[in-house]
Amino acid sequence: MNAEAKQPSPVRPESEPTSAATTVPMWLIAGLLGLLFLGAWYFDARGGWFEAKVYAPYLSLADVQRFQPRTGGPEDVILRGKVLFEQNCALCHNPDGLGKPAQAPPLAGSEWVLAAGVNRLIRIPQLGLSGPIEVKGQVWNLPMAAMGVAYSDDDLAAVLSYIRNAWGNKASIVAGEQVKKVRAELGGRNQPYSPDELKKEAE
């Protein structure tokens, strides 16, 4: 016969189920504690302790910061400058700093880049340049836009530090304060420099 036929008819009194009072077996409690321990260990190892900046595969905030660009010594400044240069400047001046024939002058070995002072150099990306300019004995004539105007003081200083120290160039690091000072001197000026005008500024 089937189970259905054995069920009591609904009109007869019917008893509802009861529950026994047997306790929870020890192995379940031990299993719960064991898995809780494992879970806590797993979270401690990989969870980054609720830090919103930590995403897999990084395991902790320290781990994330290890891979961030540092802002300490001159190497870090140059590294930051390299990133910015390759994003914005390398299109014309080339990643190897040799420029584009008949268009953009080289930066590697350029007397403008390697000048002892950076007073003139800062003004070029800040306002742009127009008119013929002589670099390494060759005359170039393509206007440059004010590529650096949107950079922060520190970023512009980093780019200039990079071009002064890359591809065999060797010159001093540019500080953010120097950029700030030049920008203050320029005031509201927004017209590009010509090379002749630039030569009138102190080096």
């Binding site: 016969m1 089937n2 189970a3 259905e4 036929a5 054995k6 069920q7 008819s9 609904p10 009109v11 007869r12 009194p13 019917e14 008893s15 509802e16 189920p17 009861t18 529950s19 026994a20 009072a21 047997t22 306790t23 929870v24 077996p25 379940l28 299993g31 719960l32 898995l35 809780l36 494992l38 879970g39 806590a40 797993y42 979270f43 990989r46 969870g47 980054g48 302790w49 609720f50 830090e51 919103a52 900046k53 930590v54 995403y55 897999a56 990084y58 395991l59």
Partner: protein, 474 residues
């Protein structure tokens, strides 16, 4: 835990009849319809050109229609109906306001229909397990409140003061759904949050819906049907309590997949919670084994069979969930068919089977014992049981194979996609068996309801047209 004297359940059954007919009948219709959409979706893998001119039946709409009808059309009303029955039966009290509950159930089915039309018209939200458009979500929420309110009134009017474990699970489920559903509706549909937060809300909701709500509602039935049919006390009160608290404590964290693009603490915590979900699952397994041990009650494709199979599927699905939380495994199984197979095993294998068992136990009480044919109930079992396994297990295994190929950079993506076809073929077979089984379920339930009302009508007709010998005598 003490023996309680038997009571006559007749008035309780009478009060439950109308709302439960509405909930179960609608659920059976939606389930059969959902299988239809499931079949269309799965056949698309083998015949992509089928219905190619009909946008509403494209895979991107048929598949959400399947999951929408399965969860909101079948699972929620079935779970609610069984829950209300348990509250009335275990509280030894008539259901409060059966008419209003029936109205709420009708409103719920209207919401499901609006959602279905929205999805087929292309208005799906795109969140898995929460595809229904805003209007449908609001209707469903109001309908749930209407039903759940009278559930609580029934609970407070109970004449049996001490609580049985099933009652905790039902009450928790009645509170859980409004909480998660209102949160998801508010944060995803009414005042949508931005960016990745949407994904985390959607994952949190679907994890709570499938891993917590369905388990709460399903276990309420498991813990009632097993002792009821075996005639033994539930083993035990404390095991049920243990499962209850660990399920709610860990289940609510489980939604976020291991490789979600979210801050590392979210998937990590979710993974730990998925492993901890083993504890309630093993507790349920232990409880079922201890309760059924040495019992001679024949299973015979009846409610007991369905419920035992459901509990086994819950344990299996939870083991799969825990395994897939380990980082070495999840890097292979995440975003493959594995997750879908695991969810299918949980929704069909555990929840739907448990609900079939409970409904086949309850409906004879409502319509009279001879109106549900035991043979068709057995045939139904032998369609849905293998159908579930054939649907879910190939997806689980195929998902692992798919994941192993996906992490191998030398295998082209098209080759990976083609290699899943064998698993999909078997799961299409399973889906077909399930669709037939669900049709049999619809036929059984609607048949029982119709035959009940026919007999009521016939009795009323006989009474109205009969001569009145009693009055003549007087």
């Amino acid at each position: 835990m003490t023996a309680i004297p038997p009571t006559s359940p007749l008035p309780i059954d009478n009060s439950c009849r109308l709302p439960l007919f509405t909930l179960f009948g609608g659920a059976a219709v939606w389930l059969a319809l959902s299988s239809g959409f499931g079949l269309i979706a799965t056949l698309k893998f083998h015949a992509p050109a089928m219905f190619a001119n009909c946008a509403s039946l494209s895979y991107g709409r048929a598949f959400p229609a399947w999951s929408h009808l399965l969860v909101y059309g079948f699972c929620l009303p079935a779970g609610l109906g069984v829950g209300l029955w348990l509250l009335a039966r275990l509280g030894r009290v008539e259901l409060a306001q059966p008419w209003l509950i029936a109205v709420g159930a009708k409103l719920w089915h209207l919401g499901v229909l609006v959602g279905l039309i929205g999805i087929l018209a292309g208005q799906s939200t795109g969140f898995e397990w929460f595809e229904l458009p805003r209007a449908a979500a609001v209707i469903l929420f109001l309908a749930f409140l209407l039903i759940t309110m009278w559930g609580f009134v029934t609970y407070t009017r109970r004449t049996q003061a001490s609580l049985y474990p099933s009652q905790w699970f039902v009450l928790a489920a009645l509170l859980w759904f409004p909480w998660i559903f209102s949160t998801a509706t508010l944060l995803l549909q009414i005042f949508p949050v931005r960016g990745l937060v949407q994904a985390s809300v959607a994952w949190w909701f679907s994890g709570n819906l499938i891993n917590v709500w369905l388990t709460l509602a399903g276990l309420a039935s498991t813990f009632y049907v097993l002792p009821k049919l075996t005639g033994r006390p539930l083993q035990s009160h404390y095991l049920a309590l243990f499962a209850f608290w660990t399920l709610m404590l860990f289940g609510t964290w489980t939604g976020i997949p291991a490789h979600a693009a979210l801050p590392a603490w979210m998937p990590t915590l979710s993974g730990a919670a998925r492993v901890l979900m083993l504890i309630p699952a093993l507790t349920v397994g232990a409880s079922v084994i201890l309760t059924c041990r040495g019992v001679k009650t024949p299973c015979a494709g009846g409610p007991l069979c369905y419920t035992k199979f459901g509990a086994a599927c819950l344990v299996l699905a939870s083991v799969l969930l825990a395994i897939s939380a380990c980082p070495q495994v999840s890097r292979i199984t995440d975003y493959t068919w594995f997750d879908h197979g695991q969810n299918t095993l949980r929704i069909y294998g555990f929840f739907a089977m448990t609900m079939f068992g409970a409904i086949y136990h309850i409906v004879p009480h409502l319509v009279g014992p001879d109106r549900v044919c035991p043979r068709w109930m057995r045939i139904n079992f032998w369609f849905v049981m293998p159908g579930t396994l054939l649907l879910a297990l190939p997806l689980v295994l195929g998902g692992v194979a798919q994941g192993l190929k996906l992490v191998d950079a030398s295998v082209p993506f098209v080759a990976v996609a083609k290699s899943t076809l064998m698993a999909l073929r078997i799961s299409t077979l399973g889906e077909t068996m399930l669709a037939l089984g669900n049709l049999i379920f619809l036929f059984n339930i609607v048949g029982a309801i119709v035959s009940y009302y026919c007999s009521v009508g016939k009795a009323a007709y006989t009474e109205a047209t009969a001569l009145e010998p009693a009055r003549v005598k007087a």
